[in-house]
């Protein structure tokens, strides 16, 4: 019986993009459904009644929510192709730790950069860069966080990179100047079809955030 896979997503979401990368890495066919977050579909509300958020993966009718949980699920079900988590328990724990770190820090700090001004924005920028530097240190001399191939942490983090142009523009700073190795890593990831076909155009993302800034009266 063929698998039926549906992804409920909203195109600018770096969380939805993580799932797209994982599905592409595993070579899986799926139906992509765009949600209008100001007018959520009955399916979304039925499949994610707790959070009412995207992304939601629906596999043979059963929903899985929360992007990192979805990515682990995909990795465990389609385990024979392109494993994203390492097999060693200690390495797996390290991968989970750093993916959790990305989740705890980057979205909120990035949000401060595009949605605030003055001192709050400056603090957001400073802390954002500190986080990226820490991640850069964790990458070290490896081509990917996963080692020789992209792994769980790469998938968790790389989707933020298409938001970098927007952060840099609204925050008036250069991420490449502060974290050149990390930017080199994003470029290396983008050479992979699974990543380049899943990430959105940074200028489109910038336009989307510009629209949000206008709506919230920040512009």
């Amino acid at each position: 019986m063929a698998d039926e896979i549906i992804l409920l997503d909203f195109w600018p979401s770096m969380f939805g993009m993580r799932v797209r990368v994982a599905l592409a890495e595993k070579g899986l066919k799926y139906e992509y459904r765009q949600e209008d977050l100001r007018n959520k579909s009955p399916l979304l509300l039925e499949m994610n009644p707790v959070h009412k958020k995207i992304p939601v993966l629906i596999h043979n009718g059963k929903p899985i929510c929360e992007s990192l949980i979805i990515v682990q699920y995909i990795d465990e079900v389609w385990k024979d192709k392109s494993p994203l988590l390492p097999s060693d328990p200690y390495q797996r724990a390290q991968a989970r730790f750093w993916a959790d770190y990305v989740d705890k820090k980057l979205y909120e700090l990035g949000g401060k950069i595009w949605s605030t001004k003055g001192e709050e924005q400056e603090t957001g920028k400073k802390e954002f860069i500190e986080c990226l530097k820490l991640l850069e240190g964790e990458l070290g001399e490896k081509p990917y966080f996963g080692g020789e191939k992209i792994g769980f942490v790469d998938v968790a983090l790389v989707t933020f990179s298409c938001w970098f142009y927007a952060y840099e523009t609204f925050g008036n700073f250069s991420i490449e100047a502060e974290c050149p190795k990390l930017i080199a890593w994003t470029k290396r990831c983008m050479e992979k079809e699974s990543v380049s076909s899943s990430l959105e155009d940074p200028h489109k993302v910038h336009g989307f955030i510009m629209g949000m800034r206008k709506r919230f009266g920040i512009e």
């Binding site: 949980i69 699920y73 328990p89 959790d100």
Partner: protein, 225 residues
């Protein structure tokens, strides 16, 4: 080679308790190092430089931080008496509820209800009730969140079984009403009384004193703004 296992914890941290329970369930021996978070040891700072928090598990010199990450590590390293289910979908559900517990239940109860008063507290209470209802529904037909025996989600939510009554006493209000949440109240009792769990709660009088002081400080800080 003998295993060297150390757990860095505090006397009161419910996150660290998750690790104590898991290691007990697995029957694994370990050394406990109690930390004073106002005076963190060089070892803690070396083993958890990113967050500088407890718990940290150090296995043969290699540190693992973040309690839910540590639980999965323990489950994968000591395979008897599994905490997570075998089936990938059930595993995803377990991870979901554990995360929900930390992100929503704990946040709304501690930061919303317990550390606030007046209108802010009332609003937070409504939100907390919604979250608790999801847990109540999840328990239908089950003795524990893990099914017939304690599992990953029970350990993740286990703090409720002890902390709710402490919060209720200190803040002077009811949070988990047995009439509204019969299954959750029954689970809290059954979990708290379980052989592995009941001997490990921190001393209640110390917890009451600690959380009374924390609440007073938070309310005073808010009032002075």
């Amino acid at each position: 080679m003998a295993e060297e296992l150390k757990l860095f914890r505090t006397w009161s941290s419910v996150f660290a308790l998750r690790i104590v329970w898991a290691l007990k369930i697995k029957g694994v021996e370990y050394e406990t190092i109690f930390e004073d978070l106002s005076n963190k040891s060089p070892s803690l700072l070396q083993y958890n430089p990113v967050h500088k928090k407890v718990p940290v598990l150090v296995h043969n010199g290699k540190p693992i931080a973040e309690s839910l990450v540590i639980l999965e590590y323990i489950d994968e390293t000591w395979r008897e008496t599994p905490l997570l289910p075998e089936d990938p979908y059930e595993r995803a559900m377990a991870r979901f509820w554990a995360k929900f517990g930390d992100d929503k239940v704990l946040t709304s109860i501690v930061w919303g209800v317990f550390f606030k008063e007046g209108k802010e507290q009332e609003e937070a209470m409504l939100e907390a009730m919604e979250h608790l209802q999801f847990l109540e529904d999840e328990l239908k037909g089950k003795r524990f969140f893990g099914g017939e025996r304690i599992g990953f989600v029970d350990l993740a939510l286990g703090w409720l079984a002890n902390m709710i009554s402490i919060f209720e006493e200190v803040a002077g209000l009811k949070m988990v009403d047995e009439d509204k949440f019969p299954l959750l109240a029954a689970w809290m009792q059954e979990f708290a009384d379980s052989p592995i769990i009941k001997d490990n709660w921190p001393p209640r009088d110390k917890m009451i004193a600690k959380f009374q002081a924390l609440r007073d400080a938070k309310l005073a800080a808010a009032a002075s703004k």
